[in-house]
Symmetry: D2
C-alpha cells in the first residue's frame, strides 16, 4: 500500500486530483503543509509519492514545484492529473443563502467567483482565507457564514453545499503531477508526456530557436513552455518544457541527446502517461519503426559502400 | 499629479517597486485590494496608472496580470520596475529576537526564509498571513511577535527591523509593470521591451517554431515566454511573450505584422523602456538604418528594373 | 518590331523556344554565336532582347548565362520558355534509313539517343558535331548521311525527317530566358517567377539556412537553387535561385529586403510570368491583401497605443 | 596495378586532374569517349575506377555525372581532384605567334580566353573544336596554326606552348571525382566530404528547409547544392548535395538517417577525403565524442529514471 503526500490541507483541489488517480485507492494520503514539504517527504523516503500542482489557470505556473524538481536530489514525474477547478459555496448545516453576510475565500478563488457573488450575494463581505481548505475548515469558528472552495471539502468538514459550479469561467483547470524517486519509470503507453528543465548559457535569439528545432526536426510537439527568470549563475537561463512522447520513444531519446549536446544542462523530470490518453499526431518518419528502419539502412550503407 | 493604483496592501514589495519609479514622486498612490481591482481602476479612469506584478521568482508568472491585460478593454504597459525581493524580520519597537515565539509570514515568503528561521529561530512557530503587508500590519494585534516582509513595511507600520536580508537565496526578484489606457506610448529609448500575447489555432510542432522564426529572422531576442494552459475556445492556445525592442523599431514592427498574419490574434501590450537600460546586442542587418536602406534599394529596383 | 538575339546557330532548340514566345511573331531574329555574344548584343543595344538557355536537363545549368547575368551591366529576365527536347534523325531528301552509315551528333544529343541508335542503326558510326544546328547544316557536305537534332532544322536546311522523337527519355527539357536591359519589368500576373543571385560571405551552416528562412517565413517557394563554385573573392560564395512570385508581390519584396540586409549582395535578375501559368499555392497570411491588412493594423497600433 | 578510365580524349584537364592523384602512379589510364562510357567501364568491371568531372566553373555542373551516379547500379565517390583551369596556346614546333591566323578552340575555352586573343591576336580567326584535346590533336592536320587547351596536351601531341596562363579569369576550376563500385569506402580522415542525391515528393517551401535543417541541427555544412529540373515522376524533385564530413561521423550518420526518414529516397554517393585537406570548423556539441557522451547519458537516464 503506497503512501502519498499531497499539497494540503485536506479538502483542496489537490486532494480531489489525487483521488482521481487509481493509485490513491487504498493508499495512505498525507496532507503536507507546502509543496516543498511534500517533495521533501518523497525525497527522504517518508512517502512513496508526492502529488503537487505544476500549472494552473488560476494560479499560473507553480515555481515551487518546478524549482523543487529542477534542483536537489532527483525526483521524477510518474503520472499527472488534471483537475477541473469548480467552486462551491459551502456552509454549516442549516445555513441558507439568505443568512450569508460574510464569505471566506482565498483571493485567487475570490477572483474566479466575483461575478456570481455580485449577482447572488451583492451585499456579502468577502474575507481572505489562506487556502480553499482553510476557508472551509474555518466555518466551524463561525466568524463567517460561508466559504468558497472545492466541493470535496464539504464531505471532509461536514458542510453543506449552498451553490456549486459558481465559477465565472468554466475553463479553469489545475494540473498536478505525481512524483517519485527515480527507478519507477512508467512504461510507454503511446500517449505520454515528458517534462524537462533546460539550462542554457545565454538568452540569445538563437538559443530558444535551437532548442525548438531539436524537437521540430524529430516531429515532437511541445505542450508547455516557460522561461524562468531566476538566474542562479550570471548569464544563465532556463526553460521548463513539456513535450509529447516518452524517453523510450526513439524520436524523444534522439532529441534529448541533441539537447544534452547544446544545453548547459538538461534535467530529465520524467516520462509518464498523459491524463487524457491522447496520442500525438505524428508526421511521417518519426515513429520507432521509422527510426529502426533508418538504422538498418545506414548500417547497411556503412558496411557496403 | 498622476494617480497610481498598486497591488496593496501598503508595505509590500509592490509599493517598494512603485517608489523606485520616478513617476511616483508626488503622485497619489492608491493601494488596490487585488490585481484585477488595480487594473479596473486604470480601465475606468479612476487612476492614471496601475502597477501590478507580472512575473516573480517567488510566485512565478502572474496570470491575473497576464489575463487581465490580455482580455478586456485595452491597457498597455508603459514602464517596468524590478524589485529585488529581500525579506526582513520585523517586530514592534522593544521586541528583541529572543522574544520571538510566533512569526507571521505569507506561505511564499516563508518558503524563502526557511533556512534562516531554522538556523536562528528553530523553535519559533510560523503562522500563515494573507500577504507580506498583512503580516506586518497584524503585529499590532499582538497574536504573534514578528512578521516576515519587505523592510519598507517597517516605516509604514511603525515597526523595527530585527534582521534584514534573511532570504535563503539572494537572487529572488519580482518584475512589476506600470499600465495605462492606450495613448501614452513611450518613445523608443534604444533599450526597450515589448510585451505581446499571441493566440494560435493549434499547439502543433510548427506553430511555436513559426512564431520564434518571425522574431529570429529579424534578429529579435525573447526575454520571456510562457505558454498558457487556459483555452477559451477548443483548440486554441496562447503565448505570453516579452521581446527586446520597441514597436517603433522597424524590425519589431515587421515582426509584429508577420505574427499578425500567422496568429489567430496578436494582442499588443505595450513597448516601454527596460528597467536596466540594457540595449540589445543586434546582429548586422536589423537596425532601423538597415531597414531604411533596404527600402530605398527595393524602391529603386521596382522603378528601374 | 523588336529584334531578338538567340543562341544560334539556326535550327537549334533555342530557336524553337524563341518561336514559342508570342513576342517572336514578326520580330527580327538574330542567331548569336554564343551566349555571351547574345547577352552583349542586348547590353549594347544592338538588339532589344536576347534568348539564352538557363538550365537544361540535357546540359545542366548554364553558367555562361548565370554568370553573364550576374556580372556586367544589368540585364533582367522578362520572360521564359521551356522547350521539350525531342530529337529527330534528319537527312537530305531521298536518303532512306538503310542508307545511313554515319550520323553527326553533338555529344550531349548522342547521349540522349544512344538506345534508339543501338536498336535501329546498330552499325552506324556517330561523329561529333559542335551543335545540333551544325550537325544538320553539315549534311550538305555529304561526309555523313544523317544528323541528330531538333526537327525545326529540317525546314531551315531543306532536310527530311527520317525519325522523330527518338530520345531515350521523354522528360528532357531546356529552359530559356528572354532578357532585356532594365526598364521593361513585366506586370505581375499572379503566376510569376523571380530570379536572383545571392552573394554571401561564407559557406557556413547558417548562411544558406538563413537565406531559405527569409523565403519560408514569407511563404515563398523556391523552384531552382544552385550554389556556384566560382569564388571571385576569397571566402565568398553565391547562390543562383528562382522563386515563385513577383518583386511587386509584398511577400517577395519583403523577402528581398531581408536578403539585402543579410547578404553581401543581392542581384535582382528579373520578375516574369511563368511559362506554365501555374499560380503558387500560398499558405494563409502571405497574400498582398494580408500584408496590406497587417500594415493597417500596425499603423493603428502605433498611433493609438 | 589499378586501371582507371577518365573522360578523354588524352590531353584534357581530366587527364591532368587524374595525374594529380597518387593512385594514378603506375595505373593503367584509359581515355573514355564520354562520361557515361567512363561510368559504364567502372560499373561492368572493365576498370577499377573512373574519373569524371562533377562541377566546373567553365562548364557548370555536370548532369551526365550527377545523373550517371544517381541512377543505375551503385557507384560511389572515393576521391576528388580539383584542377585549376589554365589555358595555353599551343602550336607545332617552329610556329611563332606571328604565324597564327586561325586558332582552334572548344567554345567554352574560347569564352575564357576572349580578352587575351583580342589583345594579342586581334586578327586571328577562331574555329570551333569538339574538345580541348581535339583542338590540340588536330594541329597535325594543319587546317589551323594554333590550338587552345591544357598545356598537358603539348607533351602528348608533340607541340610547343606559345603562351601559357592566357585565361581571362584566374579563378576557373573543375572538380573531378574518382568513382568505384561499392566496397572501398575510404576511412574518415577528419577532412572529408559526402555526396548525396535527395529525392523529395514536392517542391514545397518546407521541403528544402526541412532538408537543410537536418544538416544544420547537427552542425553540418553544405559545400554544394543544386536542384535538378528533371522529374522522372510527376511531382518529384531532387537535390544534389555535398556536405562536410564522413558517413562514419556520428553527426553525418544521424543526419543521413533523418533525411532517409523524410525524403522519398536518399542516394549515398560516397564519403571521401577533401582534395584540400581542410577540416570543418565544428560548433560545440557535434563531435563523435559529444555524440558518444550523450549516448552514455541517455542510456543512464533510461536505466535509472
Amino acid at each position: 500500500m503506497p503512501s502519498i503526500a499531497f499539497l494540503g490541507p485536506r479538502g483542496t483541489f489537490a486532494e480531489a486530483a489525487l483521488r482521481s488517480l487509481p493509485i490513491s485507492d487504498g493508499a495512505e494520503l498525507i496532507a503536507a503543509p507546502s509543496t516543498p514539504a511534500a517533495l521533501d517527504l518523497a525525497r527522504d523516503g517518508s512517502v512513496d509519492y508526492a502529488l503537487v500542482p505544476i500549472e494552473s489557470s488560476v494560479e499560473g505556473s507553480v515555481p515551487l514545484t518546478l524549482d523543487g524538481l529542477a534542483t536537489g536530489s532527483p525526483l521524477v514525474i510518474v503520472d499527472e492529473a488534471v483537475q477541473h477547478v469548480s467552486f462551491a459555496l459551502m456552509a454549516l448545516p442549516g445555513v441558507v443563502l439568505g443568512d450569508v453576510q460574510r464569505i471566506a475565500a482565498h483571493p485567487h478563488a475570490h477572483a474566479q467567483v466575483r461575478n456570481w457573488i455580485a449577482a447572488n450575494l451583492p451585499d456579502a463581505h468577502v474575507v481572505d482565507a489562506h487556502s480553499n481548505g482553510a476557508a472551509a475548515a474555518g466555518l466551524h469558528d463561525r466568524t463567517y457564514e460561508a466559504a468558497i472552495g472545492a466541493a470535496v471539502a464539504a464531505d471532509i468538514y461536514g458542510l453543506q453545499v449552498l451553490a456549486d459550479g459558481i465559477e465565472d469561467t468554466a475553463e479553469a483547470i489545475t494540473r498536478f503531477v505525481l512524483v517519485a524517486r527515480p527507478g519507477m519509470l512508467p512504461a510507454p503507453t503511446g500517449a505520454d508526456k515528458t517534462t524537462l528543465t533546460l539550462f542554457i548559457r545565454q538568452d540569445t535569439p538563437g538559443a530558444l530557436l535551437s532548442i525548438l528545432t531539436e524537437f521540430a526536426v524529430r516531429g515532437i510537439n511541445l505542450t508547455r513552455i516557460e522561461s524562468r527568470p531566476t538566474r542562479k549563475h550570471l548569464g544563465d537561463y532556463s526553460f521548463s518544457i513539456d513535450i509529447e512522447g516518452h524517453i523510450a520513444d526513439a524520436r524523444v531519446s534522439e532529441a534529448l541527446m541533441g539537447l544534452h549536446r547544446i544545453c548547459l544542462d538538461v534535467r530529465f523530470l520524467g516520462s509518464y502517461p498523459r491524463h487524457d490518453g491522447k496520442a500525438p499526431v505524428l508526421r511521417s518518419g518519426v515513429t520507432d519503426a521509422d527510426f529502426a528502419e533508418a538504422q538498418i539502412w545506414i548500417d547497411h550503407l556503412k558496411e557496403n559502400s
